[in-house]
Symmetry: C2
Subunit: 208 residues, 2 copies
DNA sequence: TAACTTAGCGAGGGATCGCTCGCAATAATC
DNA sequence: GATTATTGCGAGCGATCCCTCGCTAAGTTA
């Protein structure tokens, strides 16, 4: 009865404890950002969701800002990996790419990203902390697009604005959908985007 | 010396006082939404900008929510009138329409609209109060587009998703620009949108 | 086992939040 | 001019915010 037959959570090293707790805190932060928005994602709210006391959180993060910045990095990383793997498992048709992109922008986790972007507009400190992250995020998205055969006909210099514009369109759509859903237009909009892109690609594949 | 030679603000009726104060409060709210964002637009912040004490504001609005809802209505109305008059004073070319639309979405006042939309996502009460307003707002925007000769070739049933998608693209662009500005892409993006739309219109003006 | 470091807890500080309420000033009514 | 209604003020209430700090628990090192 004195051997390692102990009840409660299994014995963990300090590094494991720390890593797991930080993981729970970041997960909880993303969750709260999605459900409650940026400002209502308070430290105590995060703590309740993560199963960590308010004070305990500050053992791993100096300020609330550090927490949300870590959450932002995690959101970007997850979006890139999930979107990348989804993209690899399908036919590379333009239609499929558009559908996956819309699904990614409407995913709950992307709402957390929107919250952070929106908050960064009026929060100079958050904006500064997110700048390089956002630059890398967009760059990797464009890289993913560049590897798609369906977009091979797009001139290099217009690929970036094209990809970003499509994403912006879906992002704006996702934001508007929450307050003003129009499910009957979803299919039409996707047809429209596909038609516009194919028309653009078949008309002047190299020039302009 | 007893005649109406009185110093200070001119004599106003109660209706005038009320109307002017409410106007200053709404203006201050829009201003604060642009500069500080939704949650930092506190009642005392609004009061300072409007020159009204915190308690005085509650003579005209029962809750903070009522204030921001009034501001939302004012923003929508202003955007519609200014955009409509700008549109009437120019050639109705597709390029000009796109440029005006981008300018409207990047205007400071539109940031207030974005703040309200974003906040409405996680604030059920605000969302409920803004629903009809947003529906009417979008409907009037589509009506403006429907009156444009440059878009006469667009089939009626695809005009709405087309207009909304372009606006969403500009909205998303405006949001991203704050944290990740790419001024060198602005012109290219506009060229791209114009090319996509003209390609769509010239290719299949009636079918599909 | 003893000494030490790290992880976690929760009460409390200082600040701000939305909102209430008694009071003063202005306008309307008699 | 006297009375009443409206507008405006600002101290104060309860709640919540981020963060600090003294403390215990868990893991590490000797």
């Amino acid at each position: 009865m004195s051997a390692p037959a102990r009840r409660g959570p299994a014995r963990r090293t300090q590094a494991e404890r720390r890593e797991q707790t930080i993981g729970r805190i970041v997960d909880a932060t993303i969750e709260a950002l999605c459900e409650l928005g940026y400002t209502r994602t308070s430290v105590s709210e995060i703590g309740q969701r993560a199963g960590v006391s308010q004070g305990g959180i500050f053992r791993h993060f100096d300020t609330r800002l550090d927490i949300v910045v870590a959450a932002a990095a995690e959101v970007a990383a997850r979006q890139l990996t999930t979107f990348g793997s989804l993209l690899a498992d399908t036919d590379g048709s333009l239609r499929t790419i558009l559908e996956l992109t819309r699904a990614a922008t409407r995913a709950p986790i992307n709402a957390a990203w929107h919250e952070l972007l929106s908050a960064a507009r009026t929060d100079a400190e958050l904006r500064g902390r997110m700048e390089t992250l956002i630059t890398g995020y967009y760059a990797q998205i464009v890289d993913l697009a560049r590897a798609q055969p369906a977009l091979a006909a797009v001139p290099t210099e217009v690929l970036e604005p094209l990809v970003l514009t499509v994403i912006h369109a879906f992002d704006g759509e996702a934001l508007a959908t929450v307050v003003h859903p129009q499910p009957e237009l979803d299919a039409v909009t996707l047809d429209l985007l596909e038609a516009m892109l194919t028309a653009l690609l078949t008309e002047s594949p190299a020039a302009n």
